[in-house]
């Protein structure tokens, strides 16, 4: 199908008002917002703790201090959040397909 035909057919003001789209955006934001706040907090807590306290200078395992454990945890956090995002995004993909089927390709 040609771009021109589609551009004429789609009423974006209408499609973003549909229940399906509104609910998709709402769920997407409700999913991402807490994670984004969380990872920024975890990340910037590191320099705050190392700069203003000596908590992380305590030895954790042998001479590996909590500074290192905290940093490794950030690595683990990145990998875990990446996987969580992937799984959740697959759900959203299904919703997107339905929206296209219902409101665009009629």
């Amino acid at each position: 199908m040609s771009q021109k035909m589609n551009e004429q057919k789609i009423d974006y003001e209408y499609t973003i008002q549909t229940e399906e789209f509104k609910s998709l955006v709402k769920r997407k934001h409700r999913f991402t917002t807490p994670y984004v706040i969380f990872f920024f907090l975890v990340f910037f807590t590191l320099p705050v703790l190392t700069s203003y306290t000596s908590l992380l200078e305590i030895r954790a395992i042998g001479w590996m201090t909590w500074t290192w454990i905290y940093s490794f945890s950030i690595f683990v956090m990145v990998w875990v959040l990446t996987s969580i995002y992937m799984n959740k995004a697959k759900e959203f993909d299904k919703d997107v397909e339905e929206i296209i089927k219902k409101h665009i390709v009629k």
Partner: protein, 513 residues
């Protein structure tokens, strides 16, 4: 130069030229040139992102920084990895859904004004030049140290190679050079890390114990604070690291090389695993160099510690491994500068020439020719700049590029996708205020004006105290976007947010053609 180093170097150069020859045959349209026709798979683009991202600053720079400063060097690893969460959660998919070839396309999907594209192109070119200067200066120093070739000749060799890749092979050659480089870099890093662990009898915890007495810093080596004594300075650097990636034009451009948002997403996941593994291994590179090469020897070779990794390889694996690692470092730099040339060329040929001067009325052939001429110009200008910049600090140039990306690009990218009220004035204000705040503050920072003679361009007391101005310039970029938007009204030629939001979320572009 030993026989084995010649073989390895000729091998790397030969392989990348073969890739370019193969890629050149399939590069005919503008879309081929800029985005490899959007034909890359998730893992291919994931490897290429890693190859594009892990620059000399990551490989040579972090290894050196950890070996000399302990944990403070590792902040770079943590920040540059976490940055990918910002990319994945907020930017990758909408960017892919809205853009075509460049970052400016994505902003242009909502704001048609030519000044928007102009500002975005200006930011791209500025970031590319600083980033490229860092890589070329690093490459020049590396080759000079390894082979005793003059600095200027080293820069010319690297400059010549990157120009060939981009000019003839476009994005296809660039992507595959980056993929090959990612494999070589990971192989080299894993081998060195294995040998370091072997020396420590595979006792990971014991390694930390050994480091306590291995360096002049003593126990402080294992804590934060060897370099970053000022908390605000540290937080400022980390802001630039964690937000900058999401505004780097050569990284953002990679998301247009895949067919849809799903693939863009999966490529970030591959990239995050490869990049994360690499950054974990920087501990072995850094600790190993500190323990087995020694701070004195590292500094004697290069004050910033940039030669720590190749020197460590030489001690652990002899000439063969040192040559291999040097070749890896060479390939690392080539892959990154090729990506930079391409994104700089896209800003000039596609945004400035194609969209602003020609208003989008260009034929396929004109586009490809313009892209090639622009690539050549970007290459020549950056080679000329690099020839005069031998004494500049590589880490400073890279962190400046990240700071500009975070301040000048990220606010506009985020608001274009997520803020309904955002408008043309806000976008232009944000891009320019972010760019110039960062540039001006750096110009009056200790990087440029320093009381220690020889440490910077001018001797004196810096007007701005921080090395990296992100803590001021990033909020300035966001504030300018908000204030600019609130004091003005919507421009007539803006696309409705409804349409932008729908396309960003749904990726409707795939159905259109």
């Amino acid at each position: 130069m030993s026989f084995i180093s010649i073989i390895i170097f000729v091998g790397v150069i030969g392989l990348t030229l073969a890739i370019t020859y193969w890629a050149a045959k399939q590069t005919t349209t503008a879309s081929d040139f800029y985005t490899a026709g959007g034909s890359l798979t998730g893992w291919q683009n994931g490897m290429a992102i890693a190859g594009d991202y892990l620059s000399a600053a990551s490989f040579l720079g972090i290894a050196g920084a950890i070996s000399l400063n302990g944990f403070d060097g590792f902040y770079y690893s943590v920040g540059w990895l976490t940055a990918y969460l910002v990319v994945l959660f907020l930017i990758a998919e909408p960017l892919r859904n809205l853009g075509k070839f460049t970052m400016a396309d994505m902003i242009g999907a909502r704001f048609h004004a030519r000044k928007i594209r102009g500002a975005a192109a200006l930011n791209t070119i500025t970031i590319v030049l600083f980033y490229m200067l860092a890589q070329l200066v690093g490459a020049g120093a590396l080759i000079k140290l390894l082979f005793g070739i003059d600095y200027w000749l080293s820069v010319l060799i690297v400059g010549f190679m990157m120009t060939i890749y981009v000019l003839f092979g476009g994005m296809t050659a660039t992507s595959w050079v980056q993929i090959v480089k990612a494999i070589l870099l990971m192989a080299g890093t894993i081998i060195i890390s294995f040998l370091v662990l072997l020396k420590f009898n595979f006792n990971f915890i014991g390694m930390f114990d050994a480091m306590r007495t291995a360096t002049p810093h003593g126990e402080a080596f294992l804590h934060s604070g060897v370099v970053y004594k000022d908390p605000i300075g540290l937080i400022s650097v980390l802001i630039a690291l964690v937000l900058g990636t999401a505004g780097l034009p050569h990284i953002l451009m990679r998301f247009f090389t895949v067919k849809d948002a799903k693939t863009a997403r999966s490529s970030v996941v591959y990239a995050v695993w490869i990049i994360g593994l690499f950054y974990v291994l920087t501990i072995f590179l850094g600790f190993g160099a500190a323990k087995f090469v020694g701070a004195d020897a590292i500094v004697a070779e290069n004050a910033a510690g940039n030669m720590a990794a190749p020197m460590l390889a030489g001690i652990l694996g002899g000439d063969a491994l040192e040559s291999f690692v040097a070749a890896v470092a060479f390939a690392t730099i080539l892959a990154v500068v090729a990506g930079l040339v391409l994104s700089g060329a896209s800003a000039i040929a596609h945004d400035l020439y194609g969209e602003i001067i020609k208003k989008g009325k260009v034929t396929e052939k004109q586009q490809v020719n313009a892209a090639r001429i622009a690539a050549l110009s970007v290459a020549v200008i950056s080679i000329l700049l690099a020839l005069g910049a031998e004494k500049m600090n590589v880490a400073f140039l890279v962190s400046l590029a990240f700071c500009i990306a975070a301040s000048a690009n990220v606010p506009t990218i985020l608001f274009t996708i997520y803020w309904k009220r955002f408008n043309t004035t806000g976008a232009v204000a944000s891009m320019l205020v972010g760019l110039f705040t960062a540039l001006i503050l750096v110009a009056v920072s200790p990087n440029v004006i320093n009381p220690v003679e020889g440490a910077a361009f001018f001797v004196g007391n810096p007007i701005f105290p921080l090395e990296n101005p992100a803590i001021i310039s990033v909020p300035a970029g966001f504030l300018a976007a908000i204030i600019g938007t609130l004091v003005s009204s919507r421009a007539k030629d803006e696309i409705s947010y409804a349409e932008v939001k729908f396309k960003a979320e749904v990726g409707f572009k795939e159905l259109e053609s």
